[in-house]
C-alpha cells in the first residue's frame, strides 16, 4: 500500500485518502473560453504514463485537499503540497520553483 505524505499530517496509508483525479484547473473565464478549451476542461485528460499532477483529499484525516506529483506507472510520489493560486497558471507553472 502506497504511503502518501499529507502536507499536514505526514505519511499515511493511501487508503486514508480519496483520489481527486488529474489536476485540471477551471478556465479563469468560463464564458470567454473557446469551445475547444471548454471541452478539453470538461472531458479530455492527458492520462499519461509518467509523473502526473493530481488532486488528493485526506478525507479520513485532516480534511485537506492537496496536490501530488505521482508517477502513474511506478507509483513513486515525487512531492505533495497544498494548492496555491499560481497552480492555476497551467502546466507551465510545474517547472516553476515551489516549496
Amino acid at each position: 500500500m502506497l504511503l502518501l505524505t499529507c502536507p499536514n499530517c505526514g505519511p499515511r496509508n493511501v487508503s486514508e485518502f480519496h483520489f481527486g483525479n488529474e489536476y485540471n484547473p477551471r478556465p479563469a473565464d468560463p464564458a470567454g473560453a473557446s469551445e475547444a478549451e471548454w471541452v478539453d476542461y470538461l472531458h479530455l485528460r492527458s492520462n499519461k504514463v509518467g509523473v502526473q499532477k493530481e488532486w488528493w483529499h485526506h478525507g479520513t484525516g485532516c480534511g485537506l485537499w492537496f496536490l501530488a506529483e505521482r508517477h502513474t506507472k511506478t507509483g513513486e510520489i515525487l512531492r505533495t503540497y497544498l494548492w496555491r493560486p499560481d497552480d492555476n497558471a497551467g502546466p507551465d507553472s510545474e517547472t516553476g520553483a515551489k516549496p
Binding site: 483525479n21 479530455l44 492520462n47 499519461k48 502513474t72
Partner: protein, 412 residues
C-alpha cells in the same frame, strides 16, 4: 470425441498445425491494427472474412491476449440500461453464441444466467428499468425476488440483514461466462488462416502523420507504411492516441480479480452486487473467479494490491457467509480505459485514417465480436455503422453522452 481430435491423437505431436504462424514484418500493409487483444484480432478476422482484406498486420507489444482480454473475468451479457447499449451488446452476444462454430474452436460459452443483486429500493428501480428496456429490445431479462433467487443460487445469504439486504435481482438467463483466452486464440487462428499477419513482441512506438492523415506506424521492429490504423489497445489506448495527437476523455485504472482453489460445482450462475462491488462466477475448472471495482486511483501498473483482496473477501462473505474457508489461489490486475459515461469510444478521429476502439473500461470483453465486425466494416468502407454511431468520439463535444453508468460500473 471429434474425429479431428482423434486424428490428431493418432498423428502425434509433430504434425499438429500451428494455430498461427510467425512472419517477418512487411514494410507496408493495407491496414495495421495495434493491440492483439480480442478486439484487435476480431477486427482482423472480420476484415479478412467479411471484406476480403487480408493484407493486415496485428501488432502486439508482448503476447496475444496479454491485455484485458487475458485478464478479464469473462462475463458476457447484454442487459444494459440504454436502448443503444442493449442493442449493441445483444448483437455481440448473438455473435458469441455461434462463435465456436465460426472459429471451429470451442470458446466454452456457458450461458447459465447472470444475476445483478439489488440491495436498496433505489437499485430495485434501476434493475426494473434495465429489465424493462431489455425486454422491449428483445433481450431476456427480468426482475426476480428472493424466493426465485434462492432457487437459482441457494447459498446466497438472503436473510434479513441490516446492511445490504438482498431485495431483488435482475435475472438475465442468457448471461454467463466464456473461456476468454480461447476467444483470443480462435480469432488469431482464423485471421492467420486467412492471411493476416500477427506480430507478437512488436510494439507500436509512433504514428506517422502527414497533412492530417495517417501514413504509417513505427514499431520496435521497424516502420510500416499504411493509411489505415486501428488503435485497439484498451488500457494503453491513450498512449497510442497521444502518438497521433488525439486527446481522449479517458482515464486508465487498474482492475483486479482473483481465483480460489478449485472446488466442486458450487455456483451455477454469475452473481453481481453493485453496492458491494463484488461479483463471482465458477469456471468449468472449478475455481471461483471473483472481481470487484476498479482501483481507487489512476495507474498504469498491473501490480496486485492487498487492499483489494481484503475488501473483496469481506464483500464475498457478506453475500456467501459459507465461504470463509475457501482459499484464494492467485490474484492479478489489468488496465481499464474508463470513460466518463461508462460507454466506449469507437470510430473515426480528427486524424484521417486513425481509428479507435477504446473506452472499454471494465466491460469490453463481451463486446469483442461485434466490435470486430463493425470496425472492420468501418475500416473497409469508411462508413460508420449505425450500431456504433452513438459511441463516436465527437459525442463529448456535442454534449450527447450515452450514460451507461447505472449498468456498467461494476457490472462487467
Amino acid at each position: 470425441m471429434s474425429l479431428k481430435l482423434f486424428r490428431e491423437a493418432l498423428a502425434g505431436r509433430q504434425r499438429l498445425p500451428r494455430m498461427w504462424r510467425q512472419h517477418s514484418l512487411r514494410d507496408s500493409y493495407e491496414a495495421v491494427i495495434i493491440g492483439g487483444g480480442a478486439h484487435g484480432l476480431a477486427c482482423a478476422y472480420h476484415l479478412a472474412k467479411d471484406h476480403g482484406i487480408t493484407d493486415v498486420a496485428v501488432v502486439e507489444k508482448t503476447y496475444i491476449g496479454s491485455g484485458g482480454s487475458g485478464r478479464n473475468t469473462a462475463i458476457v451479457r447484454s442487459n444494459y440500461l440504454t436502448p443503444d447499449g442493449v442493442r449493441f451488446y445483444d448483437a455481440s452476444l448473438k455473435l458469441y453464441e455461434d462463435l465456436a462454430r465460426d472459429l471451429d474452436f470451442n470458446v466454452m460459452l456457458g450461458q447459465r444466467g447472470h444475476l445483478t443483486l439489488a440491495h436498496s429500493d433505489s437499485s430495485v428501480i434501476t434493475m426494473r428499468r434495465r429489465a424493462e428496456t431489455n425486454r422491449l429490445v428483445g433481450v431476456d431479462s427480468r426482475l426476480i425476488f428472493p424466493e426465485e433467487i434462492a432457487r437459482l443460487c441457494p447459498d446466497l445469504d438472503l436473510s434479513d440483514r441490516p446492511r445490504y439486504p438482498i431485495l431483488a435481482a435482475l435475472y438475465h438467463p442468457p448471461g454467463g461466462i466464456i473461456r476468454h483466452d480461447a476467444v483470443v486464440w480462435g480469432y488469431a487462428h482464423q485471421a492467420d488462416a486467412r492471411g493476416v499477419h500477427i506480430h507478437q513482441n512488436t510494439a507500436a512506438t509512433g504514428i506517422d502523420i502527414q497533412n492530417g492523415k495517417v501514413i504509417g506506424v513505427q514499431t520496435t521492429r521497424g516502420r510500416i507504411k499504411t493509411d489505415t490504423v486501428l488503435n485497439a489497445t484498451a488500457g494503453w489506448g491513450a498512449i497510442i492516441s497521444d502518438m497521433a495527437g488525439v486527446k481522449l476523455p479517458m482515464s486508465t485504472r487498474p482492475l483486479q480479480a482473483f481465483v480460489t482453489e478449485p472446488l466442486k460445482p458450487f455456483l451455477n450462475v454469475v452473481i453481481v452486487s453493485g453496492s458491494l462491488h463484488a461479483y463471482v462466477s465458477q469456471s468449468d475448472r472449478g475455481e471461483l473467479v471473483c472481481g470487484g471495482s476498479v482501483d481507487p486511483y489512476a495507474s498504469y501498473s498491473m501490480n496486485s494490491s492487498l487492499d483489494f483482496l481484503e475488501t473483496l473477501a469481506g464483500h464475498l462473505l457478506a453475500l456467501f457467509p459459507c465461504l470463509p474457508k475457501v482459499r484464494v489461489l492467485r490474484q492479478w490486475a489489468g488496465l481499464c480505459d474508463m470513460t466518463p459515461d461508462y460507454s466506449p469510444i469507437m470510430g473515426k478521429t480528427p486524424v484521417e485514417g486513425f481509428h479507435i476502439d477504446l473506452g472499454w473500461g471494465t466491460y469490453g470483453f463481451k463486446a469483442s465480436p461485434i466490435c470486430g465486425k463493425t470496425l472492420a466494416e468501418l475500416l473497409a468502407t469508411g462508413r460508420t455503422p449505425d450500431l456504433i454511431r452513438p459511441f463516436r468520439l465527437s459525442r463529448f463535444a456535442e454534449y450527447d453522452l450515452v450514460g451507461e453508468g447505472g449498468a456498467a460500473s461494476v457490472g462487467h
